[in-house]
């Protein structure tokens, strides 16, 4: 037990140590060498400048479904136009600002808008592959975090810097880079700013379902989302399943020496939630607008800022500071104070995207993943697996039932035999016994002819042929211990009637007693009571084996010649006047137990040491003196 305790304690300590080690490691850190000053496509200063410009002119308030959001959309359109994007450059001639509307929780008609522009290289025609790069631009400055509760009056007062000012600024920089640098691409790039997508995916859903043409959907090979950039780490997530784009993006990050993390199992798996089709669990990295495209079979890349390498299981922005996104502390001042290198993180994300777009083999890898988008819906269909378990349980139940029935049949429970009730009945004046084999004890009242079992001498005993019933009291113990010391064998004549050698007659005259005292010599040195074995034998009518006379004599001789230790002890032990419990064993001729009792043939084998037991100073079954019978 102690050994087991130590083993289990050691295992527990190992488990706790493993936790500690895992918690202290950055499981998602890049495996490639990271440049401390990588070659960004655009300097970090430009990213920070773009952010400050975006948040100026009261654009810290971009509350969903409000004029403030509309004002932010107008700003973005103007910026894109200034970069060189035409207002109606999309394939179907739609303008940049694409409105949509609906009803809110208060059943009021609300409106919002997406801002969409397309970069089309000069030599790329219709039907070319398309890559969508998106970021949501609204915030919850004058609203709560939920649109579902019409009575909710809470307002966050969030400036939306991390959610999602940094993402918008990064996308603006990339949009400007495309128009200014005009990289040679063989695909189009759609720049999309989603409204009404801060807490729900309303804007991005409207864009995919209502504002994209069928051709655009068919041609879109990748959707990249930028969100919450600027905190501890930049994570790039594409898919859990085997895809080409994951290794492609890893290669781009390694080649550029970028510090880009990958989400690992250190970030907890929430098995009870689903966000992406075919993915049977939820992780923090799955949160975002890209899920709309993912769930429609379009490959995605989620570039998000976070720190999922801490011991904290929640969705952490950074290790050293509490989350501020969507809260009143989500301000530019706090971002600069808490994350001084936020601009480098934005630049890292932007460089990863741009270098991927311009890398060789990009469009081939994306087209492959688009055409071979994995279908793992069955893994995420829980009811199938619960049904499998139910089936297994049903089979186990059937097997268990059959097995238990077989065992019960093979090993039946033995019936409990109730103890035999023995009544003591008085047979009066020679009346006939009702049943000679009855378990009842009959006390026969008749005159005793030198028989000690008669209580009332002179009254007929009616046991002329020997008492066939067990005696009520054990045979008496003789006071003469001399013979007992020498021999452990009590030899009796089994043919003699019961009590034939007894000389006790309470009603005998004095002369008769004296005569009998001289004549009677008891050889019984062990006044045992009827042992339980004999009684049990009586009940079950088992045969009690009684040794024959020659055997008894031989046993006596053996015992006298080679007394055992226990016999020696018994011989030297002080004798008490009280009778001792008699223990009987039998060997030799087999006779009926009842008859043997009736004929008083009770012997003790000398081979078995006799254990003397006292009955608390008195004979349990009768008086102090009783002769053997």
């Amino acid at each position: 037990m102690k050994k087991l305790f130590y083993i289990i304690s050691a295992i527990s300590c190992a488990i706790v140590m493993a936790f500690s080690l895992i918690a202290c490691t950055d499981a998602g850190a890049p495996s490639h060498p990271v440049d401390k000053t990588p070659d960004y496509v655009v300097s970090a200063d430009e990213f920070s400048q773009k952010l400050e410009e975006f948040l100026s002119d009261d654009r810290t308030n971009r509350t969903t479904y409000t004029d403030a959001e509309r004002a932010a959309a107008e700003y973005l359109r103007a910026e894109l136009v200034s970069y060189g994007y035409a207002d109606d450059q999309s394939d179907d001639g739609k303008k940049m600002i694409r409105e949509f509307g609906g009803k809110n929780a208060k059943n009021e008609t609300v409106k919002s808008q997406n801002v969409v522009a397309t970069y089309r290289p000069s030599d790329v025609g219709d039907g070319a592959p398309n890559v969508v790069i998106g970021a949501y631009y609204d915030n919850r400055f004058d609203a709560s975090l939920s649109d579902d509760d019409p009575t909710d009056t809470y307002v966050t007062r969030s400036h939306g810097v991390l959610a999602n000012g940094t993402g918008v600024a990064t996308l603006l920089v990339l949009a400007e880079y495309l128009q200014t640098q005009k990289p040679e691409l063989d695909f189009t790039v759609t720049i999309a700013f989603f409204g009404a997508s801060a807490v729900n995916n309303i804007g991005v859903s409207q864009y995919y379902n209502k504002q994209m043409t069928v051709a655009e959907k068919r041609n879109t090979v990748l959707m990249i989302e930028l969100q919450r950039l600027g905190v501890d780490h930049v994570y790039a997530f594409s898919d859990y399943r085997k895809t080409r784009r994951e290794s492609f993006f890893d290669g781009v990050a390694a080649k550029s020496g970028l510090d880009v993390y990958k989400p690992t199992q250190k970030s907890p798996l929430i098995l009870s939630l689903r966000a992406l089709n075919g993915i049977p669990f939820y992780q923090w990295v799955q949160s975002g607008n890209f899920s709309v495209f993912f769930n429609n079979g379009i490959p995605t890349l989620n570039v998000v800022g976070a720190n999922w390498e801490t011991i904290d299981l929640t969705d952490r922005e950074g290790d050293s500071h509490a989350n501020v996104g969507m809260g009143k502390d989500d301000t530019l001042a706090n971002l600069k104070r808490n994350y001084p290198d936020y601009a480098q993180k934005m630049a890292t994300a932007g460089t990863l995207v741009m270098n991927s777009l311009t890398a060789d083999g990009f469009i081939d890898a994306m087209k492959y993943d688009r055409d071979n988008f994995p279908d793992t819906d069955v893994l995420a269909t829980d009811w199938i697996w619960y049904a499998v378990v139910l089936g297994v349980m049903a089979i186990a139940a059937v097997v268990m039932t059959l097995l238990s029935r077989r065992l019960i049949k093979k090993y039946p429970v033995p019936p409990v035999v109730p103890p035999v009730r023995r009544n003591v009945k008085m047979a009066v004046f020679g009346m006939e016994y009702e049943d000679a084999n009855s378990n009842d004890i009959f006390i026969d009242l008749k005159r005793v002819n030198d028989k000690t079992d008669d209580i009332f001498p002179g009254i007929p005993n009616n046991d002329g042929d020997g008492n066939i019933f067990p005696p009520l009291f054990p045979p008496p113990v003789s006071r003469d211990h001399t013979e007992r010391d020498k021999s452990e064998v009590i030899q009796t004549d089994e043919k003699e009637p019961h009590g034939s050698e007894s000389d006790f007659d309470p009603f005998a005259s004095e002369s008769e007693v004296a005569e009998k005292a001289d004549a009677a010599k008891t050889t019984d040195d062990t006044a045992d009571k009827i042992d339980e074995t004999a009684a049990q034998d009586l009940k079950t009518d088992n045969a009690a084996i009684v040794p024959s006379e020659p055997e008894i004599k031989q046993n006596d001789k053996d015992a006298s010649e080679t007394p055992t230790e226990e016999i020696k002890k018994a011989a030297t032990a002080p004798r008490k006047a009280t009778p001792t419990a008699r223990k009987t064993t039998s060997a030799g001729k087999s006779v009926s137990a009842k008859k043997s009792v009736a004929s008083s043939a009770r012997t003790v084998s000398a081979k078995k040491p006799i254990k003397k037991q006292t009955d608390d100073g008195e004979n349990k079954n009768g008086g102090e003196d009783s002769s053997e019978q």
Binding site: I11, S272, Y282, L313, D382, Y386, L390, I408
Partner: protein, 168 residues
């Protein structure tokens, strides 16, 4: 002994409890000292231990009532702790598979727990019978009571989860 059973249940349920702690921690704003791996480890064994204690006590009690004065399966119950501990340790080790194949985490989590546990309990009962921990005439009833308890609990959980999954 029950402490070791609890620790084993903590180990077996740790991985799933991480996810639950993360979800509720994010939803209700738990600080880091609550929503972490260590708390998730020790919290993961509470509910399974309660269920196990209740079911095993119920089984033993009903067995004692049926074989009043004749049956003593306290030895069986004590040994069952070891079987459960062994099953939970195996489950804990198997759940590291989730790290390498997270896509199969959900279905493995659904299937592994009941199958492994019942397998170990069955093996233990076989061992107990070989060693005659109880009289042979009680073999069948012990199988029914102990295995039936485990099968009933897992079947019940599966039924409820299936209904919820279909409804969702």
């Amino acid at each position: 002994m029950l402490l070791f059973v609890y620790i084993s249940y903590c180990a077996a349920g740790w991985y799933v409890m991480r996810g639950n702690m993360a979800f509720y921690g994010e939803r209700y704003g738990f600080p880091a000292w609550i929503a972490n791996d260590v708390v998730a480890f020790f919290l993961g064994g509470v509910l399974p231990l309660i269920v196990y204690s209740f079911v095993s006590a119920f089984c033993m009690r009903s067995f004692s009532i049926r074989f009043r004065g004749r049956g003593d399966i306290s030895a069986v119950r004590y040994g069952l702790h070891f079987a459960v501990i062994a099953a939970n340790i195996v489950l804990f080790l198997l759940k590291f598979i989730y790290l390498s194949v997270p896509l199969y985490a959900a279905l493995l989590n659904i299937i592994l727990d009941p199958v492994i546990t019942i397998m170990f309990v069955a093996l233990y009962l076989l061992y107990a019978f070989k060693r005659e921990y109880v009289e042979k005439c009680m073999f069948g009833t012990v199988v029914t009571q102990v295995m039936g308890g485990f099968i009933t609990v897992y079947a019940l959980v599966s039924v409820i989860s299936l209904i919820l999954a279909v409804a969702a």
